[in-house]
Amino acid sequence: MKTGRTIPQAKRILSNRLMWAACLGATTIAVLVLSALLITIAIEGTGALSWSFLTSFASRKPAQAGIIAPLMGSIWVCAICAIVAIPVGIGTAIYLEEYARRSRIKSLIQLNISNLSGVPSIVYGILALVAFVRFFGIRSADDAWTFGNAESIFYLQIPFGPSVIAGGLTLALVVLPIMIISSQEALRSVPQSLRQAALALGSTQWQVVWHVTLPAALPTIMTGAILSMSRAIGEAAPLLVIGGFLLVFQTPANLMSDFTVLPLQIYNWAGRPQSDFHKIAAAAIIVQLVVLLAFNTIAIIIRQKLQRPLQS
C-alpha cells in the first residue's frame, strides 16, 4: 500500500503520543496553577470567614473587620450595570444584525465596537469620570440638579458624583462591547432559513426578531451576559478612577450613595503590611468567588430552562 512519500507507521504513532502528552501537559499546568491559587486562598482565608465577617463594616482591627459594605456595593453596582448593559447590548446587536443594511457606516461601527472591547478598562474610568461623575463640568457638585428627597430610594442628583449609579454606568461602559459582540454572534448563528420562513408567513421585521431570532439566540446571549457580568464584578481599576471609596461604613441606600466593591476592598486589605489583613483579604476573595459562582449557576439554570423547548 506504500505510495510515494508516506510517514512511517512508528513515526506517526510517536508523534500522536507526543501531541497527546503536550496537550495533557498544557491542561495540567492550567489546572495546577488554578488549584494552587485556590488552595492558598482557602488555607489563608477560611479562618477569617464567619457570619460576622459578612455582616460587619470595615475596621482598623482585622478581627472585627467585615465586608458588608463592599458586598452590598458590588451587588448594587452590578445590578445597575446589568440593567443598563444587557438591554442596550442586545438592542445594539439586534440593530446591527437584523436591521442595519450593509454600509460603510455599519462597518465603521462594527470596527469600533471590536476595538472598544480591547480598550483597557481604566480608560473607561476616565471617560466615566468626565461624563457621569463630573457631567462634563456643566454643573458643579455643590450646585447639582436634585430630584427627590435625600432619604428616598429614588433620590437622584446630576452630576452623579462618585456614587453607586456612576459606578454601575462605568461598568456598563466596560462590558458593553463584550455584550454587543457576543449577542451579535448569537444572532448570527440563527439559521437564515428560519428568518426566511417567518418573513414568508407575513411577519414584520420586528416579529421575526421577537418570535424567531431572539428566542433561538437567547441561550447564547445569556452566556454572553454571564461573561459580561463576571467581568464587571471583578473590575477595580475604572471604579478607582471615578473615585470609588476604599473604606465605606454604610451600605447603599439609593443611587446616590457612596460605595465600594469587593475588588477595591481586597485591594485595600491586601496592600496593608499586617498579615492579619492578608487573611481577611483572602476571605473576601472567597466571598467574591462564591458570588461569581452563584451568578453563573443562576444563569446556567435559566439557560437550561430556556433551551428545553428547543430540543426534540
Binding site: Q196, G202, L310, S312
Partner: protein, 287 residues
Amino acid sequence: MKAIPSPETNMEQPTTTSTSHSHSGSPTIGEPMTLRNDTAIEMQNLSAWYSKNQVLHAIDLDIAAKQVCAFIGPSGCGKSTLLRWLNRMNDTIPGARATGKIALHGVSLLEPTLDVVDLRRRVGMVFQKPNPFPKSIFDNVAFGPRLHRIYSRTDLEELVEQSLRASALWDEVKDRLTSSALGLSGGQQQRLCIARAIAVGPELLLMDEPCSALDPRSTASIEELIRELRATYTIVIVTHNMQQASRVSDTTAFFYEGKLVETGPTDVLFTTPKERRTEDYVTGRFG
C-alpha cells in the same frame, strides 16, 4: 397509494403522442387554461437583476388560478428568482431589483408602496429544505395565525387541525402536537411547513424545489398533497425533477438563461414542445 396511477398515465402519453410530432406547431397552447380558469398571476416584460447581473429578461407569463404551474430549467436559469419576486422575498437580498409588471389578481406587486407584509400573508411559501421553527408542532402551525392576532385557543386549535389535515399530517401528529417539530422526519417536516403556510389562508402557494431534500417516499407523499391542494390554491412549483413536473403540474414554463423559452399545458410541453431547447431539456439531452 393514490400517488401511483397518475404518474403512469402521464408517462403513457409521450409514447402515444410522440408519433404525431408534426402537430407540435399547434397554436392553441395558451387557450385551454384561459378558458377554464381565471388568471391568477400576470407578468409583463419582467426583468430582474442582482446588482448589475441581469437574471431575468423580459418575461411574459400568465398563471391560471387553482392550477399547478411548474417552473423548470437548468440551475441558474432564474426560475427561483422569479418565484421569489412573487412574494417579494427578494427584498431581503441587497441589490435585487426588478422592472416590468407582476400582478396577482390585478394587484401590482412591484409597486414600492406595496405592503409586502400583507402580500406575504396572501402568498405562502415552502422552501427547498424543510425549515420548521424550533418550537412545538402546534406552535409551528399557529405561528402565522398568531401574527394575525388570532389568539383564542379554540380558534387556533381548529385552524391547526384544519391545516394539518389539509397537509395530510394530522393522523401522524395529532397525539404529539406539543412535542418539538424537529423530532419529525424530513418529509413530515416539509408537510408541516406546508401546513404552516396554509394556516395563514393564502391564495397562492410558492414551492421552491420542495422535494429536493427528501427521500422518494416522502417525495411521493408531497406530490400527492400538491395534487390535492390544487383544488383550493394556485400553486407555483420550481423543480429540477422533470418527472415531478410532469406528475404534479397542469402547466409548465421552461426557462433558460433568464428567458422564458416556452410555456403551455404540461402534457403538450413534455410531448410536443415547439422549441428545440425545450425538447432537448425535457428529454434529458442537457441540463
